[in-house]
Amino acid sequence: MSKFGNRKKKSVGAIGTSSLPDVVFMILFFFMATTSMREVELRVDLKSSDLPQATEIKKLEKKSLVSYIYVGRPLDQYQTMYGTEPRIQLNSAFAELTDIYEYILAEREMRDEAERPFMTTSLKVHKDTKMGIVTDIKQELRKASALKINYSARHDI
């Protein structure tokens, strides 16, 4: 049974940490390449679990060509001013239905002329919202001829 007893004690050298910064930088660059900055501060209650679920979803490509319209109940701190009924948020402020036309025109103005036909409007709408407001938004988008839309939905598991 001396097999275990007389093992020679080897001293293990300290692990070199000089390449640790390189490793961490690599992780950092990976994240920088794969993620995008948070676009706007949400003022409506719209967690990602509040989006409807679907199976036939497609990825939104070319994020720089996407304009977002958020619809949902105002967050608690805005409810005294804006009530509890679902509201529209454009950029980082509450907006009226009539502001959508201007918003789309402004978004279009910001893009290069060659890219304008590929612009998409992403509708991020709380799943409990009534269709009335969504239908109104769709009519406004048609007036502004922003016809490519994307109903934001998450993957059904």
């Binding site: 948070r38 679907a54 979803i57 269709m131 939905a153």
Partner: protein, 193 residues
């Protein structure tokens, strides 16, 4: 003048700096990819060219969602779970069934032959009181039905396992064989608020 030796910069804290940057980035970015159902809205019709398009009754598949989120297909109440099969049945070409849409023979240059394609149009109507979640569920089922048929067509005509495996020209051909014609009615208010 004697050359002074520059001392080595201590790089021991480099890792800490990198970690700080990494954590800052993790907090300020969102990981989730934006996904959704892509749709094309119809342009607003000119006042001058509003024409009543006369579509044969058997060619329309009317899907109605009321303010109670109940679904009706061609006048009968249905469950959302059954919608996909009903839609597939409708979009598929049914040569011998007089209650299903008429056929139209379309020349597919990729296959160099004519194929009978159903002339059916899916008409989706909803109320202002319909919940958005239900509306998306119904949209999803309709798109899913068309996508399943396209997968089948891709297998039948090109021997590929699904639509996504085809190249652009073949996709175009399959799109002609299984068209996605979903029309949304001009909004109206039926069921009150």
């Amino acid at each position: 003048m004697a050359k002074r030796e520059t001392p080595e910069v201590n790089s021991g804290s480099m890792a800490d700096i990198a970690f700080l940057l990494l954590i800052y980035w993790l907090l300020t970015t969102t990981m989730d990819v934006d996904t959704g159902i892509a749709r094309q809205l119809p342009p607003i019709p000119d006042k001058t060219d509003i024409t009543e398009v006369d579509i044969n009754k058997r060619n329309i598949f009317i899907v109605l969602i009321n303010s109670e989120n109940l679904l009706s297909v061609n006048g009968t109440t249905r469950k959302i779970e059954d919608l996909r099969d009903l839609t597939k049945e409708f979009v598929k070409s049914n040569p011998d069934d007089p209650s299903m849409p008429e056929l139209e023979s379309v020349y597919i240059d990729k296959l160099n032959k004519r194929i009978d394609v159903g002339k059916g149009v899916i008409s989706l109507q909803n109320d202002r009181g319909t919940t958005y979640g239900t509306y998306i569920m119904v949209q999803n089922e309709l798109v899913a039905a068309v996508n399943e048929l396209r997968d089948e067509a891709a297998y039948e005509h090109f021997g590929k396992r699904n639509f996504e495996a085809l190249d652009e020209d073949q996709k175009e051909a399959v799109r002609k064989i299984v068209p996605q014609r979903i029309s949304e009615a001009e909004p109206k208010n039926i069921g009150g608020k």
